[in-house]
Symmetry: C2
Amino acid sequence: MNVSDAIRLKRAVRKFTEQPLPEEVIIAILNAGRRAQSSKNTQPWHFIAITDKEILKQLSECGEMGGVGKANAWHLAGAALGVALLSEDPAEKFQRLFDLGQAAAYMQLAAWELGVGSCPASIYQPDLARQVLGFPADLYLRIALSFGYPADEARLAAPPKKGGRRELAEITHWNKW
Amino acid sequence: MNVSDAIRLKRAVRKFTEQPLPEEVIIAILNAGRRAQSSKNTQPWHFIAITDKEILKQLSECGEMGGVGKANAWHLAGAALGVALLSEDPAEKFQRLFDLGQAAAYMQLAAWELGVGSCPASIYQPDLARQVLGFPADLYLRIALSFGYPADEARLAAPPKKGGRRELAEITHWNKW
């Protein structure tokens, strides 16, 4: 699959089959994230790759916004693989979350090429997530990714959804604002 | 070019030829960024696409860290295209910089497929950058991308550099930390 098709056709996938991902697919996804560029090549990431169903379920319960009660991370519970993206305090260096975003994009495009769907999940209860995954206090988890074979296989070949993105003219300025 | 090759072979490129990018290449790069996913599909970005040499030069001077005097953004001065990635205050929502990172990764992979090199530049003088580009006070610029045909054409086909990234085992934990 060429790059432009992958970018044009990739859809968010939040519902997955029960089928586990082969180990080589998991390694390929993680390696894609590992290869991402980063500010001064700091590679500010640690990945926790999760296939244990109970841990995925616990992590899926760390996505509720205070008071809102909406479980943003629900799709982790049904994923074949979750990847928690950890870094040192993202508030200290603005590049860290930007770099995690690049690593996530690489993982998700690489997955798509292998027929694997994915979606990011915001973690709004970082302390609970730290408890679930047991990572040290100097690391932070804001976003985790869910991966798996799409429950709706047709998504893999569906044309881009109309109106899914703002028009280029609406978001682009030329030379100056 | 398939996705995994693009990810494996993409190198940072900071030195460019004088050749301008055709309009269709510029549009393809911007469209790749536009198509990136974002938290709740908020598409939190505005792009300023810069081909004016004088403006690129001025923006390249916004990359000095206070007191350090190192011009991190120097490569923008020689770029055929600069893309300033603007969002509302990234400190307000942690997803914004993450989403900009995804859009940047999409643009740079799409560019690489078209034989165009690129590199992100940290903007450490955001007020000066706002003055140069004239964007409103409620938008923030932290990272800009430079694009152009690589001065060293061999980079486009070079094998991955050994030791450029930490090993997977060093950055990955399984199920728990």
